[in-house]
Each structure stands twice: as C-alpha cells, then as structure tokens.
C-alpha cells in the first residue's frame, strides 16, 4: 500500500510537510542507537579491554548486530517495496550524472547554474519530488549492501569463537565468507574494513546533518515533518 505524504498544515508563509513516515524514523533512530552500541562494543573487542567482561561484550555485540541487520533489511526492504520508494531511494543513471555535475560545480568546472537541484515539494499533490540528494541515495544503497557483509562476517566470526551458539546464523555467515577464506583474507580484517566504511560514511553523513541548510531535514527525521517556506 502506498503511504502518500500529505500536507498536514499550512500557514501564511510555511507549508508543513510530512517528510518521513514513522517506520522510516524508527529504522533510522534504531540504527543510530544500535550502531553506537556496536561501535563501543567493537572498540572493546578491538582493543582487548573489556568493560563488564569479554563474554558480556561479545553477547551485546552479536545481539546488536543481529538487530541492526534485521531492522535495516526488513524495514528498508519494506520501505522500498511496500512504500514503493524504489525510484526515490535506489540511484538511477541520472543520479550518476547528477553526482558528476555536482562535483563539476563544486570544483568550478561547471557553473552553479548547472547544479542539479533536488528535494522539491509538490504542495498540490502533497508529495516530494527528487527528495534525496543523489549521494544520499548511493549512501543508503551501499549501506544496505555493506550491512549484509558486516553481518555475515560477524556471524561467521561468532561461529568460530563460540561454536554451538547461533549455529544457524554462524553457518550462513560461514557459507558467505568461504570465498574470502579461500582467498586468504582474514574474516576479522574484512569485518574491520566494512566497519571502516561505516565509520567514514557515518562521519560524512553526520557532517551534512549539521549544516544549517539541512536543519529542517534533520527536524523531519526527528518529528516527521518539515517546514518549507512558500517564498524563497
């Protein structure tokens, strides 16, 4: 079923538009909390310095990993398919071109008049058009894929150090990681590299949320609504 965004309030100067559904916000903030837990417990495992014991940390880490994997994959898939957001979230060939144009504008190769603007709002129909910056679409899609790899490598690692627990997930992880083992790449190293990707992309994502021009979008992720000025 399509969840159609509707203008929920209108003042003389502002349109208050529904930007993010409750399920989108749940997925996003659930991810934030779980990622922080994963980062802290991962840091303990990486450093070998444990707060509350190795097994406690290990248990928290694996549970948070499973939850973030399920939360993201199930909800994200629902958003893409159930809410029919395929073209909104999955990058298209035009998004590739837009990224090139954005870079060209940033480095002065193209004038800013050629900048491919995004995030328009049709107040009549009450819906966004080109809602996301193209790099945001790439970020979401790559995150979706990377989450799979970090989860599988995590499950496989758990199987090696805690055999007999979570055998189902450990076996699936082991199966997906077998080519890696055959190539002689340590799974822990691979797990770390995917983490490094998340660390970098999250830092950049966080930077953009703090920019003044994105304040209303961030507000949308907190409350669900965004104030759009009628006149620019």
């Amino acid at each position: 079923m399509i969840t159609k965004s509707k203008t929920i309030e209108e003042t003389e100067d502002l349109i208050i538009a529904k930007r993010y559904s409750r399920i989108q916000r749940t997925q996003h903030w659930g991810n934030v909390i779980l990622m922080i837990i994963l980062f802290l417990t991962g840091l303990e495992i990486y450093s070998g310095i444990y707060v509350g014991g190795a097994k406690f940390t290990q248990t928290i880490h694996i549970w948070a990993g499973l939850l973030v994997f399920i939360l993201s994959w199930i909800i994200y898939t629902f958003i893409i398919i159930g809410e029919r957001k395929i073209t909104e979230i999955i990058p298209s060939p035009r998004d590739f071109l837009d990224v090139v144009l954005i870079m060209g504008c940033a480095f002065g190769i193209l004038s800013d008049e050629k900048y491919p603007h995004y995030d328009f709002y049709d107040a009549e129909k009450g819906k966004y058009i080109n809602k996301y910056h193209p790099t945001q679409k790439f970020l979401a899609t790559i995150n979706y894929i990377m989450l799979f790899f970090i989860a599988m490598s995590g499950f496989a690692l758990y199987g090696y150090i805690a055999p007999g627990n979570w055998t189902f997930f450990a076996n699936i992880g082991d199966w997906f990681m077998t080519p890696l083992i055959n190539w002689g790449i340590p799974i822990r190293f691979f797990h770390f590299l995917v983490f490094a990707y998340f660390l970098m992309s999250t830092m950049i994502h966080f930077y953009f949320t703090m920019l003044p021009q994105n304040r209303e979008r961030l507000r949308g992720m907190a409350t669900g609504t965004q104030k759009i000025p009628k006149a620019h």
């Binding site: 080109n130 150090i161 822990r188 190293f189």
Partner: protein, 298 residues
C-alpha cells in the same frame, strides 16, 4: 641464548635415530638431546618468557619440536593452523604444557580448541611423545616433543611435504582475555610459519613470517578513513559554506513538474543550453531559475 650446551650423558640410549638419523632426539635421556644443537633455526617467543624459544625439525615421517618455557608460567600453548586475529579457533589442533607450580611437574596435552565456548579438550588419543627437562636452565623448563607427521588421528593436523602451517603461541601471561581473539600487548603471539620440508631431514623454521601485517593495514585503513572524512568535510565546508555557497531554488513546485530524466539532464546541461522542454508530453519546470531555457525552447 640459543640453548644451553647439551650435556648428553648417554649416546647409546634410545635415540629415534631411524627416523632422524642426522641429529636424533632421545626422549629418555633426561636431558636436551644433542641433536638440537645442529638445529640452528629457532625463534625467540616472548610469550614463553624473556628467554623462551622454540625449535622445530622434521624428517620424512616425524616432527620434532623443542620448547623452552619459563618455569613460573601456569601454562604455555601452541595452536596449529592459527587464524590471524583469532585464537583457540573451534576445531584447531594444539598442544598445551601445564606447569604445576608446587611440584614443577610439566604435563603435555594433545588438545583440540573449542573457541570461547570452553577450555580446550584433550584428544581422545595422545599422539605426542614427550620428554620434559625441568630447570635445565635456571627458571626455564625444556620440553621435547616428537610426533608423526600424519598420526591418522582426525583430531590432529596432518603435515605433508611442502606445507606451511600457521602457528601461534600463548601462555598464562600472554593470552586473550575470555578466549576472545585479537592480540594485545598481553595477547598471544603473532602468527608464524612452520615450514615442513621432508627432504633430507631438513630444518624446519618457525620464522618471522613474510606475510601481510593486517594490524598495520587496519591502522592505515583507520588513518585513511579519518583523512578522507575530515578532508572531505573541510573541502566541502570551504567551497560550499564560505567561497561559493549554493543558492537553492524555491522547493515548492507546481503540479505539472515532472522529474527530470537522464536525457533531459544531459541535454539541459550539455546540449547547447537548449531543450525542447517536453517530456512525456508535459512541460518540464525543474525550477524557476531554469524556466528561461524552457520558455526559450517553446
């Protein structure tokens, strides 16, 4: 220190000469076999104490090893087919030397690791022939072990000519807490290669491995992450916040606005600044500031 000079008392005693005829290891003489003096390849293993060391040798049928471990350790261990960044991997073969601090007795066990699920279990069949020389060097015990290259035991790793086996050492003072992996300064050793070459009873070398240092590359990856992330943020804020901030158009569009296609974007960007303004039969008004192009085309 390599090894204390071997004071071999009785050359006629039970050498395993038939399988190690050039050097020989006697497991019944109560001392370090003189054959080890000819094994010049060894590795200092700090996990076994400051002067802890390991030697390996083999011939076509047997693996010979000699461990010098600090006597005040509660245990010392070796893991075969060890994984980088992990230790005691489930199912891995290993040997553990338990040192009784009251009696100084050393017990050698052929074991299978169980990950962090529990301590290693003893093999059903012990395939190690051992001799322990207690305190031959003050503060250190020496352990000689002989094992068939292929014991036929499914719980044991089988060595073959040309094998390079990853091995790792740990002790009661150098191991990962709680059985979790990841070497720290107090963790187990880095991985070493055990090279098994059976031609002519050649030397086996637990050498400093010529392999990828993954800890180093992890550090490089982390540095790169911060460099790229902060570099990008700095560059972006410099360009888009200070020098040439973008003036975004009014986000409110009319109902006839149609999402631009790849072709439309290409033509309005590179197509001589003109476009027919039509897409799917509708006029495209991407934004107010671009409508001039469309008006011109119309």
């Amino acid at each position: 220190m390599l090894l204390p000079p071997a004071a071999h008392a009785d050359d006629s005693s039970n050498f395993i000469a038939s399988i190690f005829d050039q050097q020989g290891v006697d497991l019944t003489d109560g001392s370090i076999s003189p054959g080890w003096e000819n094994v010049t390849y060894y590795q200092m293993i700090p996990e076994f104490g400051e002067n802890g060391l390991v030697k390996f040798a083999n011939n076509a049928t047997h693996l010979f090893s000699l461990f010098v471990v600090e006597s005040n350790l509660q245990w010392a261990a070796i893991e075969f087919e060890a994984w980088d960044g992990l230790c005691m991997v489930d199912g891995n073969d290993g040997w553990t030397f338990y040192i009784d601090q009251n009696t100084a007795a050393v017990t050698v066990h052929d074991e299978v690791y169980k990950g962090s699920a529990g301590p290693p279990t003893h093999d059903t069949t012990n395939n190690l022939q051992t001799e322990v020389v207690v305190d031959d060097t003050p503060g250190y015990h020496t352990i000689e072990i002989v094992r068939q290259l292929d014991t036929g035991d499914t719980q044991d790793i089988a060595y073959h000519d040309g094998d390079l086996i990853d091995i790792k050492f740990a002790s009661s003072t150098h191991h990962s807490k709680g059985g979790l992996s990841n070497p720290t300064q107090f963790g187990p050793s880095d991985i070493f290669f055990l090279s098994v070459q059976t031609t002519g009873g050649d030397i086996i070398v637990p050498d400093t491995p010529n392999r990828i240092d993954y800890d180093f590359w992890k550090m490089i990856a982390l540095i790169m992450v911060f460099f790229l992330a902060f570099g990008f943020m700095f560059l972006h804020s410099l360009i888009r916040q200070y020098f040439k901030p973008l003036d975004h158009p009014n986000p409110i569009v009319s109902a006839d606005y149609v999402k631009p296609t790849l072709k439309y974007r290409w033509e309005t960007t590179f197509g001589n600044g003109k476009h027919n303004g039509k897409h799917n039969g509708k006029t495209k008004l991407e934004s107010d500031d671009k409508s001039d192009l469309i008006k011109e085309a119309n």
